[in-house]
């Protein structure tokens, strides 16, 4: 017997950005597929968006996620989260911030209740939300707060060729270097290893741990964190039975032959993780949040206000995010 997989909950994101457009495009390519999803969005704005860019995507208002499963092959199902004012492409309007936030809250609520399989978020515009009183540093922190409890969210970026996890994220490089700690590396790597086992079906994941400094410090001559911080973390992880190895020179660990030797790269700072994945696959990267009680994926791009409403946005990253969330949700439903 196959377990029933509830639909994925897709958030509205910034309604003035490309989120609606890529969602409509994604549905038209995935309507016949196995994975089903429901948008937590304003049906009228999605219909208007479809008309504006000339996409013949039918939009259907539904009253619950269960109904969405049946509707999905015929129309993009939408659980209504009404906007305060009509969205205009490229024009931020702080009056719509409440709806953006409600969409996220509702997606998390349905997923925690088991009525949605996972949360897929589309990009938000933080500045606009801040003006409406949003106080979290970003999407991920807000999701962690909604999850309740003491959860440590870990950001993983994945494309078909590479998975990367930065230990430090949105901090100045100087602070990332100064605050790098053995404990942070161990905690991040452990959450990553567990998630790869549970949600990605990798039995005993191999973690390649990057050094911090050029040439991984070259024996301490170009920085000592490899010796004092990173190597001790690797030893602790190994003692816990996790297949971690390194520290590796950051500039040679990402080419194809090296990538074949690991399932995920644990990186010491944001761009050490982001540069390789963007260089390898600019459009197809997926951002996955690990360490929360629910699964969340998102496309690895921003609101792209500059091209909103023109029909030029590429849905690949959102489609990859949906595919990944769908696989994880199916794996969890079968557990």
């Amino acid at each position: 017997m196959t377990a029933v997989v509830p639909p994925l909950a897709i958030t509205m994101g910034e309604p003035a950005g490309i989120g609606g457009e890529v969602l409509l495009k994604a549905w038209s390519q995935l309507a016949a597929g196995r994975i089903r999803f429901v948008a937590l969005d304003d049906p009228a704005r999605l219909a208007a968006e479809a008309a504006r860019i000339g996409l013949g995507v039918p939009v259907a208002t539904v009253s619950d996620p269960e109904q969405a499963v049946d509707v999905f092959p015929r129309a993009l199902p939408v659980l209504p989260v009404p906007l305060a004012v009509p969205a205009r492409p490229g024009q931020l309007d702080v009056r719509n911030a409440t709806a953006v936030r409600h969409s996220i809250e509702e997606a998390v609520r349905l997923t925690l209740a088991g009525r949605a399989g996972a949360v897929v978020t589309t990009p938000i515009h933080k500045k606009c939300l801040y003006e409406a009183g949003f106080t979290w540093p970003g999407h991920t922190e807000f999701l962690a707060a909604l999850a309740g409890g003491d959860h440590r969210p870990v950001m993983m970026l994945a494309c078909t060729e590479l998975r990367v996890v930065p230990v430090t994220i949105h901090v100045a490089l100087e602070d990332a270097v100064r605050n790098l700690s053995t404990a942070e590396i161990v905690a991040t790597a452990e959450i990553t290893a567990r998630a790869l086992e549970r949600d990605f079906g990798i039995a005993s994941p191999r973690l390649a741990v990057a050094g911090l400094n050029p040439h991984a410090g070259e024996g301490g001559s170009m920085g000592r964190q490899e010796i004092t911080v990173v190597a001790p973390a690797i030893r602790i992880l190994q003692e816990k039975g996790i297949r971690a190895f390194g520290p590796l020179p950051p500039d040679t660990m990402f080419h194809a032959a090296a990538r074949a030797g690991y399932d995920v790269a644990i990186c010491m700072y944001h761009d050490q993780a982001l540069i390789p994945i963007k260089t390898i696959d600019f459009d197809g990267g997926v951002n996955v949040t690990l360490g929360l009680p629910f699964v969340r994926t998102s496309p690895d791009h921003g609101t792209a206000l500059g091209i909103a409403g023109r029909g030029e946005a590429n849905p690949r990253s959102l489609m990859a995010a949906i595919a990944m969330a769908g696989e994880i949700a199916a794996r969890r439903a079968a557990d």
């Binding site: 901090v171 050029p214 070259e218 000592r224 500039d251 050490q272 390789p276």
Partner: protein, 341 residues
């Protein structure tokens, strides 16, 4: 008659044979067997006849060179490459795949001779096959890198910098082999401006009319408007403005994670990065096998393939010549454009 640099038809390239225990001799022999290479420049090779013959045997290519002794005069505008046989290494003494004092002495001596020829104005550019750092240090304990060695040999004190070059994209960096903890405090507006000036000058020397240089930020998302660091606002941004005011086509700072994608899509000819791995990660992903290293800022260009001596495949005859050819032709291109003195 002595060879004159900068002959009307084609430039003179002084070539040094690199570390003998890896793929360098094989690459040298194969490169020198190629018709377009032989036609593009007058080539003066420094090394040992026996070592390059061994390289030709491994590469399975014919060797057709003028062999001269170190004390004889160099032929002018030679029809084929000239090997100055320094008689400085017996290949029977080379343990393949091993960094040795003898190998280091061989490579440093070849390099020194090639540099002196160019410094004397008798060659327009220098080219070398890969060195092994450990072996070089046996022979020359003060050896940090090629830049330091060249500066010592020719007594040069000006502003120099290593450039990483793919055919379609150049990369220069403001800081290099220093700890990451020292990067932010090392960044200075004047340094960035002078790196931009040197980058602009080198690209022009390679034939770019008005080179477009993209400048990377230091912090995630280039600081996100000051939220994750202020170096973009206080140091890098003003440096770019100064460079632009001096006629350099510089642009930035851009987030480091997407600046190479922009470049790949044709937005820039070169990227100036703030630290070692910011550029090295992307450049190695974009062209691991064909990258070229240029030592820029010296009175003549010095080029070499970016890869190393590849001890693991030494003697097998399978070394890829791609980067060696790109490095050689970059040397030819820059040598040909050197303004007449």
């Amino acid at each position: 008659m002595a060879a004159q640099a900068g002959s009307a038809e084609r430039p003179t390239i002084a070539m040094a044979m690199g570390d003998p225990a890896g793929i360098s001799s094989e690459l040298a022999a194969r490169l020198l067997s190629q018709e377009d290479v032989r036609a593009a420049a007058a080539i003066i090779v420094y090394g040992d006849r026996r070592v390059i013959e061994e390289g030709a045997r491994v590469a399975n290519v014919p060797l057709d060179l003028y062999v001269v002794s170190p004390d004889s005069a160099l032929p002018g505008n030679p029809a084929k490459p000239v090997l100055v046989d320094l008689g400085n290494l017996d290949p029977a003494e080379v343990a393949m795949g091993e960094a040795t004092p003898a190998g280091g002495a061989f490579a440093t001596e070849n390099f020194r001779q090639a540099l002196r020829l160019a410094a004397a104005g008798r060659a327009d550019a220098v080219y070398f096959t890969p060195f092994n750092k450990k072996a070089m240090r046996y022979a020359y304990p003060a050896y940090d890198d090629e830049i330091r060695f060249v500066s010592d040999v020719i007594g040069f004190t000006g502003h120099t910098r290593e450039f990483n070059v793919l055919e379609e994209l150049w990369n220069a960096r403001v800081t290099s082999h220093i700890p990451m903890s020292a990067v932010a405090s090392t960044l200075k507006q004047e340094t960035i401006v002078s790196e931009l000036e040197l980058t602009d000058r080198m690209l022009r020397a390679a034939g770019f009319e008005k080179p477009r240089i993209g400048v990377a930020g230091l912090n995630p998302h280039a600081g996100d408007g000051g939220n994750f660091g202020r170096e973009e606002i206080e140091i890098i941004g003003p440096a770019v403005k100064t460079a632009v005011a001096r006629g350099i086509n510089a642009d930035g700072p851009y987030p480091a994670d997407t600046i190479f994608v922009r470049a790949k899509n044709g937005a820039f000819d070169a990227i100036l990065t703030m630290y070692h791995d910011q550029g090295q990660i992307a450049m190695k992903l974009m062209g691991f096998d064909r990258g070229v290293t240029l030592m820029g800022g010296f009175p003549f260009p010095i080029c070499t393939p970016a890869h190393g001596t590849a001890y693991d495949i030494a003697g097998k005859g399978i070394a890829n010549l791609g980067a060696s050819r790109h490095a050689f032709f970059l040397a030819v291109r820059m040598a040909s454009r050197k303004p007449p003195s």
